[in-house]
C-alpha cells in the first residue's frame, strides 16, 4: 500500500514550509480522537473474546469426588489437554470429521458458486430492459436470513417435499450421509452465487468497451476474449469475492444447524463442533476448536492476500484520490 506517500502529496502544497509538523500533529490527535471509540469497542467485543478463548482453551476442568466429604469437585488446571484431545482418542475422530466437512464445504461450494456467479455476471453485463428486475431478484437470496433459507430448504428436501417429487426419487435428504452434505452445498450455492455474481458484475462494468473492441479487431474468439481479457481484468473483484465466500463458508454454522441438525456427523462443521461442546458447558474444548478454526481462517486469509494479492481494503486508502 502506497498509502501515506500518495496521500501526502495533494495536501502539502498549499501549506507553508514551517507549518506542516504542527498541523500534522493536530490532525493526528484529531484522528485518534475520532477513532478511539470504535477501536475501544472492537477491543472489547473482539480483542477480549480472542484472548479469553485462547486462555480457556488451555484450561482443563477435571470433575472429581472429594475423598473426605464425598462431594463433587471441579478443579481447573492449565494444560495442553484440550489440544492433545483434538488429535487423540474419541474426540480426534469428531475433530477430523468436522475439519474434513469444513474444508470440503469450502472448496466445493466456492468452486460451484464462483462458476455460477461469473456466468450470471456475464449475462447481466449486457444491456437489456428489465435490469432492475434482475438486480432485485438476485438480491432476494442474499437478503433472506440464512436460518430461514435453511428452513425453506429443509422443507424442499423433506421426505414428501418438492425435491423428491421433481427428481421422482425417495431420498431422505436430512438423514446422515452424502445426501445431507449435498443438500447443504445446494442450499449454500443458491443463497450466495448471486452475491458473487453481483461483485463480479461490478468488476465487469469498469472494463472499458474499447478493450473488447480491440480484441474483436484482432480477431479474438469469444472464448479467448473471456480467458485473456475479461478474466484478468475482473480478477481483483473476483479474488475479493472468493476470499469473502471462503471465510464465510469456513465459519458456516446456521445452515447445517437448521437444515440438517446440530448433531449430524455428515454435516458437522468446526463451528458446530465447538457449539455442541459449548452448549454442554465444556468451555475448554469448545474454545480449543474455536481457536483452531480462527487459526485456519487466518491462514487462509493470509495466503489469499499474499498469493493472489487480494486487496481487501477495496478502493485502497490512497487510491480514491
Amino acid at each position: 500500500m502506497t498509502t501515506t506517500t500518495s496521500v501526502d502529496v495533494p495536501t502539502t502544497p498549499e501549506t507553508k514550509p514551517g507549518r506542516p509538523p504542527g498541523r500534522r500533529a493536530g490532525v493526528a490527535s484529531f484522528a485518534a480522537l475520532l477513532l478511539s471509540p470504535s477501536l475501544l469497542i472492537l477491543l472489547l467485543v473482539i480483542g477480549y473474546p480472542i484472548v479469553s478463548a485462547l486462555r480457556l482453551s488451555f484450561i482443563k476442568t477435571v470433575d472429581g469426588v472429594d475423598p473426605d466429604t464425598g462431594l463433587v469437585t471441579h478443579s481447573s488446571v492449565f494444560s495442553l489437554a484440550n489440544y492433545i484431545d483434538i488429535f487423540r482418542g474419541d474426540t480426534a475422530a469428531a475433530f477430523r470429521n468436522a475439519f474434513w466437512n469444513t474444508t470440503t464445504f469450502t472448496i466445493v461450494t466456492v468452486i460451484i458458486e464462483t462458476t455460477i456467479g461469473v456466468c450470471m455476471a456475464l449475462v447481466m453485463n449486457k444491456a437489456f430492459r428489465g435490469r432492475g428486475l434482475v438486480r432485485a431478484s438476485i438480491l432476494v437470496p442474499w437478503a433472506i436470513p440464512t436460518a430461514m433459507s435453511a428452513l425453506l430448504w429443509r422443507w424442499i428436501f423433506s421426505a414428501d417435499g418438492v425435491a423428491n417429487d421433481l427428481l421422482r426419487a425417495n431420498i431422505l435428504w436430512t438423514t446422515e450421509g452424502f445426501q445431507a452434505w449435498l443438500a447443504v452445498v445446494i442450499a449454500d450455492t443458491w443463497k450466495t452465487a448471486p452475491f458473487i455474481g453481483l461483485l463480479v458484475l461490478a468488476g465487469l462494468q469498469i472494463i472499458p468497451a474499447e478493450v473488447y473492441e480491440a480484441a474483436k479487431v484482432d480477431g479474438s474468439s469469444a472464448w479467448r476474449t473471456f480467458w485473456r481479457i475479461t478474466l484478468p481484468l475482473v480478477k481483483p473483484a473476483l479474488v475479493v469475492a472468493v476470499l469473502f465466500r471462503m471465510l464465510d463458508v469456513l465459519r458456516m454454522f446456521d445452515l447445517p444447524f437448521v437444515l440438517i441438525g446440530p448433531q449430524k456427523k455428515s454435516t458437522q462443521t468446526l463451528s458446530l463442533l465447538a457449539y455442541n461442546d459449548m452448549s454442554n458447558l465444556h468451555f475448554g474444548p469448545a474454545a480449543a476448536y474455536a481457536t483452531v478454526l480462527f487459526a485456519y481462517v487466518a491462514v487462509v486469509a493470509y495466503a489469499f492476500v499474499r498469493l493472489l494479492g487480494a486487496d481487501i481494503v477495496g478502493r485502497g486508502v490512497g487510491g480514491g484520490r
Binding site: 501515506t4 479469553s52 444491456a127 454454522f253 486469509a301 481487501i312
Partner: protein
C-alpha cells in the same frame, strides 16, 4: 457508482452489432440473441423459485400441506394465523429482532461514523494498517467470539438479556459499517474540506456542517446493510438466550414445534419465514440501487 452503471453497456451495444454483421463466428451473445433471454430467465428463476415455494407453501391450507402444485389453490391464511398463535411467541420474537437489530445499527453508526471519517478524509500515520486491521476483524468466526462471551455472560448473569445479543453483534456490525462508510466518504470530493478550511472551519466543523449532510445517502445505505446483517444474525442469538421471551425471530421460528411431537410444522414455519423475510425483500426492492452500491463498495456479505 449507480450513475455509472448503465453507461458501459450503451457504448457496448453498437460494437456487438457491428461485429455480428462482420463475422458471425466472433459475435458475443448480444441483445437480440435468444440465448441471452434464456440466460436472464434462468437467473430470475434460479433466484426466485425457492422463495416462491416458501410463499406458496405458506399460503396453502394446512390440509394441503404436502401438495406440490405450483399454485396454492385454495389459498388460506391459516398458516399465518398459526404462526402468530400466542403459544409460538412469534410476535414477541419479531419485536426482539427489531430491538436487537435496531440497537445494533444505531450504536454502530454513531460510533463508526467518526472512525470512518478519520480513515477516509484525514491524513495520519498508520491509516492503512488501521483500516486493514478493522476489516480483518470482520472475518473472525462468530463461534470464536461466542464461546468466551457465553461464559462471561453466564458469570455476570447477562444470559437472557438484550445487551447479551447486542454487544457481541457489534463485533461484525462495526467493522462492516466502518468499511462501508469509509468507502462512501472517500467518494466525496476533497475540495469540500479545503473550501471549508479556507472559510475558517476547523476539521470538526467541516465534518459536522459540510461532510455529514452530504454523506447522508451513504450513511443510509450503511444503515440498511448493517440492519440486514444484524436481523439475519443467528449464532449469537441462539447461544446467549434460552428463554423464549428474549429469542429473536430467526431462532424462535427455527424452533417452532408442531402439534405432534415428531412432525415439523413446515407450513407454519414457511408462513413465519415469509413474515421475517418480507421486510428485507421490500427494503431490497426499494433500495436495490443503494444496496448494490454498498455491497460492491465494501464487498461485504
Amino acid at each position: 457508482m449507480s450513475q455509472t452503471m448503465p453507461a458501459p453497456p450503451v457504448t457496448d451495444k453498437p460494437v456487438g452489432k457491428i461485429a455480428a454483421g462482420e463475422k458471425r463466428k466472433r459475435s458475443r451473445i448480444g441483445d437480440s440473441s435468444p440465448w441471452y433471454y434464456v440466460g436472464i430467465a434462468v437467473i430470475v428463476v434460479y433466484c426466485l423459485a425457492p422463495f416462491y415455494w416458501m410463499v406458496v407453501s405458506a399460503l396453502r391450507r394446512p390440509s394441503d400441506q404436502f401438495s406440490n402444485s405450483l399454485l396454492p389453490i385454495p389459498a388460506s391464511l391459516d398458516n399465518l394465523k398459526a404462526a402468530f398463535s400466542p403459544s409460538n411467541g412469534f410476535a414477541r420474537g419479531l419485536l426482539n429482532s427489531l430491538i436487537v437489530a435496531g440497537s445494533t445499527t444505531i450504536i454502530t453508526l454513531v460510533i463508526g461514523i467518526t472512525a470512518a471519517y478519520a480513515l477516509a478524509r484525514l491524513d495520519f500515520r498508520g491509516k492503512g494498517a488501521t483500516l486493514a486491521a478493522i476489516i480483518a476483524t470482520s472475518m473472525f468466526p462468530g463461534i470464536a467470539v461466542v464461546v468466551p462471551i457465553l461464559q462471561l455472560w453466564t458469570n455476570i448473569g447477562w444470559i437472557n438479556t438484550y445487551q447479551a445479543m447486542i454487544i457481541p453483534s457489534l463485533s461484525f456490525a462495526l467493522p462492516t459499517a466502518i468499511w462501508l462508510l469509509t468507502a462512501f466518504f472517500k467518494q466525496m470530493p476533497f475540495e469540500l474540506e479545503e473550501a471549508a478550511q479556507i472559510d475558517g472551519c476547523t476539521p470538526a466543523q467541516a465534518f459536522r456542517r459540510i461532510i455529514l449532510p452530504l454523506a447522508a445517502p451513504g450513511v443510509f445505505t450503511t444503515a440498511i446493510l448493517v440492519f440486514i446483517a444484524a436481523w439475519n444474525e443467528f449464532i449469537i442469538a441462539v447461544s446467549v438466550v434460552n428463554k423464549s421471551e428474549y429469542k429473536t425471530a430467526n431462532v424462535i421460528v427455527s424452533q417452532f414445534t408442531g402439534q405432534y411431537q415428531f412432525q415439523q410444522p413446515y407450513g407454519t414455519q414457511m408462513a413465519a419465514g415469509v413474515v421475517v423475510t418480507i421486510p428485507l425483500v421490500i427494503a431490497v426492492l426499494l433500495f436495490q440501487r443503494r444496496i448494490v452500491e454498498g455491497l460492491t463498495a465494501g464487498g461485504v456479505k
